[in-house]
């Protein structure tokens, strides 16, 4: 089981293939299995000839849980330290949801390490002013409705600290009631969140941590936004396309927020298309990246 010790804790990671480097970052409360079990990591390595690295951010999956350090600036510094340990001078970084925020913050804080960024349906805390409906976003409401059927009330506003605390205190009877509602893997997912109750992750992940609109506008690396057709964050998508010097956006049909998991068949070809383009662009030293503008 590959783990690497950096910044005082052990990080679990997976690597497959050989070629130009791509790093995949999972969403908040997820883990690297979203890239591995969907076959995305393997497909990118085989179809595009890439070395594909996915890892569990601190507090997630099989990586150590730290009491704090879950804001995107700290997680970006974690990634830079990991890339150094992997002897990976630079990579194209792909992030789903909060993973995309970490990817963009890495591009800002460690620009030499990031050749390009692909964000998948990311909400940026630093852009909260343009996404006023975020506290009531549909993915949270879905979870609220589901847990409510088991008598667990997480509230109608996004509040992961509260969710983590509630999970930690669930009784055996409540877990049993959840099983048929969430299904076995959903229940395991929820169970994995328990350790986060002892951390500051629930609020740190929703801090701008310095990644403001003005700072996002300074990103010079090519950026792709893959936003879900029914995303709650289409204003963010429009901001990225209009305000960043090198950004294009594609919509993933039929998806709400979890396109890599729920509509892999549509997500993967789009990801491959943009990775192929970015890899080629990054490989042409000194050439100016052309700025596509697609719908």
């Amino acid at each position: 089981m590959p783990r690497i010790e950096r910044r005082g804790f052990a990080t679990y990671y997976q690597q497959t293939g050989s070629g130009p480097d791509v790093v995949l970052i999972h969403a908040f409360t997820s883990n690297l299995s979203m890239w591995v079990l969907t076959g995305i990591a393997e497909a990118l390595a085989q179809n595009l000839g890439l070395r594909v690295t996915s890892y569990d951010m601190r507090g997630h999956g099989a990586t150590y849980v730290t009491p704090s350090g879950y804001d995107s600036a700290t997680l970006a510094d974690d990634l830079a330290a990991l890339m150094e340990a992997w002897q990976m001078p630079a990579a194209i970084v792909v992030g789903h949801s909060y993973g995309g925020v970490v990817a963009m913050h890495t591009a800002v804080r460690h620009p030499d390490r990031v050749r390009g960024v692909i964000v998948a349906d990311s909400y940026f805390p630093g852009l909260s002013a343009i996404e006023p409906s975020m506290p009531h976003a549909e993915p949270w409401r879905d979870l609220q409705r589901t847990l409510s059927r088991a008598g667990i009330e997480i509230g109608d506003q996004v509040d992961f600290s509260r969710l983590f605390a509630l999970i930690q205190d669930l009784t055996a009877d409540q877990w049993e009631a959840l099983d048929p509602i969430l299904g076995p893997s959903g229940t395991r997912w929820l169970g994995h969140l328990k350790p986060l109750a002892t951390t500051t992750a629930g609020h740190e992940a929703f801090e701008a941590a310095g990644l403001t609109a003005d700072i996002l506008r300074t990103i010079r690396q090519p950026v792709v936004g893959l936003y879900d057709e029914h995303s709650a964050f289409l204003r963010t998508s429009a901001f990225l396309q209009d305000e960043l010097p090198s950004c294009c956006v594609d919509l993933v049909p039929g998806a709400h927020h979890l396109a890599p998991l729920d509509n892999t068949a549509a997500f993967l070809p789009l990801l491959e298309k943009h990775l192929a383009r970015l890899t080629t662009a990054a490989g042409i030293a000194g050439s100016e990246y052309d700025r596509p503008r697609m719908a």
């Binding site: 997976q14 883990n31 299995s33 591995v36 393997e42 076995p184 893997s185 395991r188």
Partner: protein, 95 residues
């Protein structure tokens, strides 16, 4: 189930008996499901894949196997599904 798949099923069960300090002590057979019966989490499934790569000395294409299962609408993986997949790529180990 043919002989090769049966042998591979036993091989997988042997791996699972000592996997990740798992306490599951019930009967395991081809229809036992990883998530529903054995209580696997998604990250357990990734680590099992790694364990099998090491056991058989090659990188196995689990991604395409899992995509096939998802395309068939499967919500869980049975030990027999995994044994069938392994039979197509490796031969069972003696120990």
């Amino acid at each position: 189930m043919n002989h090769a798949t049966d042998t591979m099923t036993q091989d997988v069960i042997q791996v699972l008996r000592c996997f990740q300090q798992r306490e599951y002590s019930g009967p395991m057979h081809a229809h036992t499901r990883f998530f529903g019966d054995l209580g696997f989490s998604s990250i357990d499934a990734v680590i099992l894949g790694e364990t099998l790569d090491e056991r058989y000395g090659k990188k196995l294409p689990f991604g395409s196997f899992l995509r096939e299962l998802r395309d068939r609408g499967a919500e869980d993986i049975a030990i027999g599904d995994l044994a069938d997949f392994l039979c197509r790529h490796v031969t069972p180990r003696e120990s």
